[in-house]
Structure formats: C-alpha cells, structure tokens
C-alpha cells in the first residue's frame, strides 16, 4: 500500500465535534439524562498533575505503559477474576491500515488515541469506537523500515498529541482536530535514523529515543520542548570512550568468549568505534519524579553480529542507563551484555518498583526483561544488579560465537523477551513477560560501514525444521523464581496488562486474546480477534463502566496474520 499521499493532516472530525457540542448543549437544556450514544466525546486537556497521578488513575490510561514507573498495573477492579469469563467485545474500530499493530491505546476522559503502521493517528470515542478525527502522516521519501512499518502509540500533554514517525520526525498534533501544530526532524533518515516508539511527555519535555541500532547510527535519548519543539538536551548512548572495562562475563556470570587481546590491538589501531556504534533507545523511559531521574535500556551495538570491527565493551549498548531528567546528564549504568555479538539487546521497557534488595530490605528497583530470557532487577540508586531470574525460556549453547556457516544458540535473536512491555502486580511482587522460543543460527560476515543501510555484519536465520513457540511467564521479582508459565503455540510479541481485579491480559499471534489469573496463571477467558493480537492492552473507565482494549493487527517481525482492528471489551 503506497503511503506517499498528499495529505498532511485531515480534519475530518471537526464537523462531527461541532455537531456533538450542539447536541450536548441541547441535551443539557432539555435535561435529558440518557442519549449518551448520540453524542461524540470531545478531546480534553491533559495536565502534568494527571500524569503524576497516573498510577492511581482508574479512569484514564494516560501513558504508553500506564504511568511513569511503567508498571502496566491498572488500578480498577470492576473487571476481575470472578467475572472476566463474561468479557465480550463492546465495539470494534477498523482502521484503514492493514498491517502490524503495536499501539498502546491512550484514553483521556473518554477519548482514545491509537496509531497504526505507517503512522496514522486516530482519535476515537472510547465508549463507542466512533471516529473523531484521523491524521495521516505524509512519509518522506527516505524512510527505513528495520522490522516492520510499526508505531507504538502517542504521548499526550496539554492540548497536544505527540507522534514519532518512521521518517524520524516528532509531530505535535492539536488534540481536538488532529491538525499539525509543528513537526521537527529528530535525526537524518538517510543515515538510518527512524522511529517506532511512543514518546514520553513529562514536565514540559517530550522524550524520544531512536531506532537505528541495525544501521550504524549513534544512538540517543532526546528531550524536546513540548511547546516549541526545540531540543533541550541529548544524551548520546555511545560515549567517546566506549571501551569500558573489557568484561569477559555477562551480567549472569557466563563467559562470552571474547578475544580481549585481539580487541585491544584493534582498538589501539583504529580508535573508538562510538560514532557508528548503534545503541538505539527503542522505547519509553521510566521516570522517577522524586529523584528527577529517567531510566531506560539501550539497544545493540552496530554491526549486530560482527564484533571484530567494534572492539571494547561497546558502552552503553545492552545496558540500563539512568540520567537526570532536567539536563540529560549521566547518573549511572549497568551493562547486561558487554560487546554483544548476538543482538540480544535490551528493548523491553524498564519498570520501577519496590522489591527486596540485596539484603532483603525493601528497595527501589528498576526491572527489565531481557532477550536473554532473564528478568533483571537492579538498584534504582546506583544501577547495580540485585538479582536476575531463572531463565524464562530454554537456553542452549549460550554465548557460542557466530560463524560463517552459522552457529545455533538459544535463545534466538528475538529473545526471550523482545520489545514486549511486561506487566507487574506490585501486591504479589510478580512480573509478567511475553517470551519467544525461536531457534536460530547466527552467521557472521564482516563488511564496512554501509552509509545508512542495514548493517548486521552477518545474518540471523530461523531454523525451519525446529518448532517455534511462546511462553507467558510470571516471575517473583523478590526471589527471581518463575511463579508460573503457560506455553503458547506461537512466539509471543505484544505486551501485557495486569489489573487490580487479579487478572493479567496478553495476546497471541494466532489471534487469541486471553485473561489469566495473576496468581496462578489459570486461563480465565479467551477471545479470538481474527488477526494477531501483538500489541499491549490498555484499560479505562467511561460512565462507570470498565473496558479493556487492544489492537489486533498482527506483526511483521513474527509474520502473524495482519489485521486492522481496535477491539474494546466489557463485562455486561
């Protein structure tokens, strides 16, 4: 489907909104109590205070992962373990883009914002699924697609809706009309920069990372002024001294078979590789407003498989990093894998929580579920590792080096846990993670920096004769033990949502969208949406009724059946 249309913004809903306002006024004058279905909701402003309180907000769903900690724990219990078996579709909205859906629906006072592949944004009435407006981004000619034409959603702040695009732009839209207020280039798309993430809005800033870890870019997290779009600060994820401490073991203590002598010789000869070292920041950071810090994880070094060309630990790739929110200055980091040659990078977003520290006492922690198959729990103060969980999926031949003809290792290069955000249940100290089991061979072949093209330094190939599957795993993050796990017929990619109703939701490639009992993993409800449910679910309450909503559009990366639907569910 060609996306090079002429439209930059489409004010389709303006007339409708005006009619709705008139209808509302008429209803009020008449004193009619019902007739809600006749009116369309109107977009309303979002304040910083609302964002500050998002974790306790059982009406809206204001952020990509629920709240600044990114717990994906929704504090409403109207839908719960006792009644979820009666969950059924309330409405379906069919978008005009039939392709991968990774969007986290955002809901503000009864208005829902969702995005599609190729960067369309819809505002919908969250009660009925009726369209309010649609924005169709006009993609620039130079747009790179590493892993599908995806988009993970918008950020909302004030009277604006913010979108990051595949041609590396940050676009601010008028929340009421979908019209463009401003658009800024984030970085040069011809160099391989691109965006699939949802931005984060906090304290007058819009935070955006970048794709491009497969393109020899220099990764970053940028902060833009939410009103003007000017860049306030940039944190480069690959420092000028990226060599680190020449670590031979990964965070779990396993030997990575590095040839340190050869690397040091290459480093002396060719210098630091930081300029084309990769290190994208694929998704939203967590924010701790009490310490004024942002936490995020950094993607893989470039080129993915060829380590010889980039000697050193390749800081801060495959790391947890914390920076000051006002200045973007470095505070601390922890590298999960130094000098990664398997693309087992850190992509699933961080979660701030309270957990048992090294001494057992309650401690502020930062958690991340890795492609390696481990859930890592780090100290939020200094980024040090507290514990890592049991493996959530099979691991075999870990850290075997890639070869020309291909070396088999589990997990495959998609994980473990890919970009899928985890959910958490703080009361049960459980984290819920979507895992993939995809046996692959890792091939290495050296090539020089390719000027903005895909630069893997080899190839990953799925082994067609071996079975692939997925696993939804609950981990007790106080102990690192797997509490329960449920196997799924296909590898899992998407996201989870846990609620105060004692349930956790996750979708699958075959179209199943399920509710599990959070404590036991028992499947309490299932619905087949007709296309891959490979997006993170959201929840919200309108007029006292709780909904669960999810995108069913499939996913390019695991090639699940494509669709175009947003489906909202209620219990009646």
């Amino acid at each position: 489907m060609k996306r090079n249309g002429i439209l930059t913004g489409w004010v389709s809903g303006l007339g409708l909104a005006c009619a709705a306002f008139a209808a509302q006024a008429t209803e009020e004058i008449k004193g009619a109590g019902g007739g809600a279905a006749a009116m369309t909701a109107t977009p309303s402003a979002v304040t910083q205070t609302m964002h500050d309180n998002a974790a306790k907000d059982g009406q809206n769903f204001l952020q990509t992962n629920g709240n600044y900690g990114q717990s994906r724990f929704y504090p409403a219990a109207e839908i719960n373990a006792q009644n979820v078996a009666r969950l059924h579709p309330a409405w379906v909205f069919q978008t005009d883009v039939l392709d991968s859906m990774e969007t986290s629906p955002i809901i503000v006072n009864g208005v829902m914002y969702v995005t599609t592949s190729f960067d369309h944004v819809y505002a919908l009435d969250a009660r009925t699924g009726q369209q309010i407006w649609e924005y169709k981004h006009k993609m620039g000619p130079i747009t790179t697609y590493c892993c599908g034409p995806n988009n993970r959603g918008v950020a909302v702040m004030g009277d604006k809706v913010y979108l990051a695009t595949l041609d590396s732009k940050l676009v601010a839209l008028d929340a009421k009309t979908g019209g463009v207020k401003w658009a800024k280039e984030i970085a040069d798309p011809e160099a391989g920069y691109s965006e699939t993430m949802a931005p984060t809005a906090v304290k007058g800033l819009i935070l955006v990372g970048t794709n491009g870890g497969e393109y020899g870019i220099r990764g970053f997290l940028k902060a833009f002024d939410s009103e003007s779009g000017e860049v306030k600060w940039t944190f480069n994820t690959t420092p000028e001294n990226s060599q680190g401490i020449w670590a031979t073991k990964d965070a779990t203590g396993r030997d990575m078979h590095r040839d340190i002598a050869a690397e040091k010789a290459a480093y002396s000869k060719n210098g630091d590789p930081y300029k084309t070292l990769g290190g994208g920041v694929w998704q939203n950071p967590s924010i701790d407003l009490s310490t004024n810090r942002a936490y995020f994880v950094v993607g893989n070094p470039s080129p993915d498989l060829d380590g010889a060309i980039r000697p050193g630990d390749n800081l801060y790739t495959d790391s947890l990093v914390s920076v000051d929110l006002d200045t973007g200055k470095y505070v601390c980091h922890f590298q999960y894998i130094a000098h990664d040659v398997w693309d087992l990078d850190a992509v699933s977003p961080t979660v701030l929580a309270e957990a048992a520290g090294k001494d057992g006492a309650a401690t502020k922690v930062v958690m991340h579920a890795g492609k390696t198959g481990h859930l890592y729990v780090n100290d939020a103060k200094d980024c040090s590792l507290i514990r890592f969980s049991e493996a959530m999926i099979p691991q075999e031949n870990m850290w075997v080096l890639p070869t020309k003809d291909g070396a088999r290792m589990l997990p495959g290069a998609n994980g473990g846990v890919e970009w899928s955000p985890i959910a958490t249940d703080p009361g049960k100290h459980l984290a819920f993670a979507l895992n993939l089991h995809q046996p692959m061979t890792y091939h290495v072949d050296s090539s020089p920096y390719p000027d903005g093209k895909l630069w893997l330094g080899g190839a990953f190939k799925i082994i067609p004769s071996e079975e692939q599957w997925g696993q939804f795993v609950a981990v007790d993050y106080n102990t690192g033990k797997v509490a329960w796990k449920v196997k799924t017929p296909q590898p899992m990619i998407g996201g989870a949502l846990a609620t105060a109703g004692g349930i956790v939701f996750a979708g699958e490639a075959n179209g199943d969208f399920k509710a599990y009992d959070s404590a036991s993993g028992k499947i309490l409800w299932s619905f087949n949406a007709g296309a891959g449910v490979n997006a993170p679910p959201s929840s919200y309450v309108v007029d006292g009724k709780q909904y669960v909503v999810v995108g069913a559009g499939g996913n390019a990366q695991i090639d699940s059946k494509r669709g175009n639907a947003i489906v909202a569910f209620t219990v009646d």
Binding site: M1, K2, R3, N4, D99, F118, M139, G140, P141, I142, T143, T144, Y145, C146, C147, G148, P149, L166, D167, G406, H443, D445, S447, P448, P450, D451, K453, L454, W455, L456, G457, G458, A459, F460, K461, I462, I463, P464, A556, Q557, D559, R562
Partner: protein, 187 residues
C-alpha cells in the same frame, strides 16, 4: 538495447537545471531503456514505474558514488545532482506499477517460498505483499530475469551496495533463489 540512448542522454541533460518542468525531459533518458509506457525494452532491465521513491533515490545515489557498479547507468547518473535524483525518484514513484503479465507460481511453490522467506524475515523490510516502502524496493511483479540476476549478484558479491542482502542470500542455494524469483515475479 544501446541504440540511441547515448544521444538521448546528451539531449536530456544538456541544461543541468533541476526545474520541475525539466523532469519529464530528464526522464526521457530513463524511459529510453525503462520504457515509455513503463514496460522496459529488455527483460533484464527492471520496472521503474511505481517503484518506491526512497529506493530509486538511494540506487541513483549509490551508482553515482560507485557504491553500486552498473555500466549502463554510470553515464546517466554522472549528470544528476542530488535534487535531480530526488525529483526523478518522485516522478517515477508516482507512476502506476507496470504489470509485466508474468505467470503466477503454483501453490506448492508459493508455500515453499513462504517458508524460505519466513526463515530470513523478508517481509520485515519488503513488507507484506513484497511491495516494499520508502528505501526498501518493491519485489512483487518485478521482471523475473532482473530478480534472478540481482539476487545472484548480491549472493556472489557482484552487487556491492547492500551487505545485509549479500549475507542473507548467501544462506540460500542458487536453485532456491531462482524459485524465489519466479514466485516474486508472479505476485
């Protein structure tokens, strides 16, 4: 194939200015081989009409700077500025895709192709339906001879401007590649 194109090249690019109304004139150089109605004059020459804008630009850029070597194209691209390349890319991308009426593959071949393609994750860049987008080319319905030559050239290293394509295609046999070309051409 070479009849008259050199003369057309000299004629079309004499002015050097990248004004919009010059584009049709500049494009005359292209249509001499790639076809005045979109059908190339030779089976080995790829369909250009309806190809993705970013991809056309990148290939012109790469051929000019020598990242990709192509004897027939080298004279043409030397005269093109970056603005010319972007304008020509937009011009041809706006045309409807040319249907070469190549036969559709048998369903058994299609199934085998799907399995091979899943292994390498082709749709991740070339998109569902293999129509590509942006800087990733459309493969669906491209000339089978051009697809075969291109994939084999990536595999052998003769085509030098995408190391990733080389690595990926080296994991397939030439026979696999011929089959993939047939299926893609028939889409």
């Amino acid at each position: 194939m070479r009849r008259g194109w050199m003369a057309l090249a000299a004629m079309g690019l004499a002015s050097g200015a990248a004004r919009a109304d010059d584009i049709a004139q500049k494009a005359a150089v292209c249509t001499a081989c790639h076809g005045e109605t979109g059908v190339p004059i030779d089976k080995a020459i790829p369909v250009l009409w309806g190809q993705n804008e970013g991809y056309i630009y990148i290939e012109l850029r790469d051929m000019k700077k020598g990242a990709r070597k192509n004897d027939q194209m080298s004279q043409v691209v030397n005269e093109l500025s970056r603005d010319d390349m972007l304008a020509l890319a937009a011009y041809f991308a706006a045309k409807p895709w040319t249907n070469l009426n190549q036969p559709r593959a048998a369903s058994a071949e299609q199934t085998q192709f799907d399995s091979m393609a899943r292994s390498a994750g082709c749709v991740g860049c070339h998109q569902e339906g293999y129509k590509g987008a942006g800087t990733q080319p459309r493969l669906a319905g491209q000339s089978v001879a051009y697809l075969e030559k291109t994939m084999l050239d990536f595999r052998s290293g003769a085509r030098t401007n995408n190391a990733w394509m080389k690595d990926l295609l080296q994991t397939y046999s030439p026979a696999d590649i011929l089959e993939m070309a047939r299926v893609l051409a028939g889409l």
